[in-house]
Symmetry: C2
Subunit: 260 residues, 2 copies
């Protein structure tokens, strides 16, 4: 499949607007909620419906697509060869269920491992962060410039609440060294705030569907994305991840080297 | 001064809309930022301008007003006798400065210690939580009903990031026992989310201007507000405070009894 970024962008933006309408309609009805790995790891009928919708629509658009989705309704993927789509139907499911805001839907698209486009929609605010490495990044129709290169002590940072509480090495040190920290409960919301320069860093343990779109968009904005455990940067392994301005990333890596 | 709640509500709502316009205008310009007690305790020219505006407008509306404000531009108050106004020009100053959203402006009004009205405006979202004990509570023009009486394990809770990080007794226990926790960096935003049922509890160390409006509105909605250190409930002392559904409050007090 050879599509321009504009063609990809039109396709995914329209998909996400449809998803948004589905989600808003479902928020008016009782949700069917199940737990996955533990009582705080939720999945709803809506996560599954949305993933199913993405998979079907992407297969029509790109018949050779390999699709990796959080709910497992796509393909089993162990390589980035060919046309690879990574989708997270609802990121921040606990916020979706209990708060009915501050959740996102995310898509990233790669050709032979090269990012061709990424999309994160804050569903309730209807704010779409979208772009690609050679094209730049937009918030809805506004082109974003690179966020100011703030240091850690100048930055409010977004952290995974669970990792902070259970004191995964580095998290409490970073929280204490930053100007302030926030816990939002959604990677997508955190990436949007990072891209807008509202936070200077985001640190969490993330699965591929949690970080793929955010990593592509952050790198396209000149932000640094580091896999914490320093393995090879691949898109298919879960990882402790720091996405940050260059200065904040250096500060965090120095801190975590001493505290890990 | 004998005013009906509607008269009070008209007056403060109009004041806050004016404050909102002032704040939005100042967000287009560089802020003049100073630190107070420490590097994370900020005050800007806008905090002071807004407090000055409140003080002047309230004195015209209520010539016998005693006004307690965060920036100290009102009166020195040591009693709730007479007409007492408690104002927080910008709650969540770090969010205001670094994120340009998720901050609030707050006013509470008392006659001889009896709450007569309270107002919390999420400035960027233009959402006003307002009401009084005998009248009920509204979000803009929508009357709110009492939030569902969720237990702690059924609730996402909002916590003070600093208290959690420095492990003020009880905070980490509550974070671990809740369904999830969030750190928003603003008491006003937390009270709005509590009133809407998005979080089941809010726990922080608060000064009078941080909690006065929130306490009045939460109690008017049937939520429980407990001063953590179990001193007499007065409106003029800083305190560790839990605002929560009755069930979540009971769960938290049981936990903190054992962990404090």
């Amino acid at each position: 499949m050879k599509k321009t970024f504009d063609q990809l962008d039109d396709f995914v933006s329209a998909l996400m607007q449809h998803v948004r309408q589905q989600v808003l309609a479902h928020l008016q009805q009782p949700l069917d909620i199940k737990t996955k790995s533990n009582s705080r790891d939720l999945v709803t009928n809506v996560d599954r419906l949305v993933e199913q919708y993405y998979v079907q629509a992407i297969r029509e658009f790109d018949p050779v697509a390999n699709i990796l989705g959080e709910e497992g309704l796509g393909d089993a993927i162990d390589s980035m060869v060919g046309s690879v789509w990574i989708v997270d139907p609802i990121d921040g499911t606990l916020n979706f269920v209990k708060q009915k805001d501050q959740f996102a839907t995310m898509v990233a698209y790669f050709e032979n491992g090269q990012p061709r486009g990424a999309w994160i929609l804050d569903v309730m605010e209807n704010e779409l962060l979208h772009g690609a490495p050679e094209f730049g990044v937009w918030l809805n129709t506004k082109k974003l410039s690179a966020p100011a290169n703030l240091s850690l002590v100048e930055s409010v940072v977004s952290l995974s609440g669970a990792r902070l509480l259970h004191n995964v090495p580095g998290f409490q040190a970073v929280a204490g060294a930053a100007l302030g920290y926030r816990v939002y409960g959604s990677a997508g919301i955190s990436f949007i705030r990072l891209a807008r320069g509202q936070v200077g860093a985001f640190m969490s343990y993330l699965k591929p569907w949690d970080f793929a779109a955010g990593q592509v968009l952050c790198q396209a904005l000149g932000l640094q994305v580091t896999k914490f455990d320093r393995k090879v940067d691949d898109m298919l392994s879960s990882s402790l991840i720091v996405a940050a301005t260059k200065n904040a990333a250096n500060d965090i890596l120095a801190l975590t080297n001493t505290s890990m």
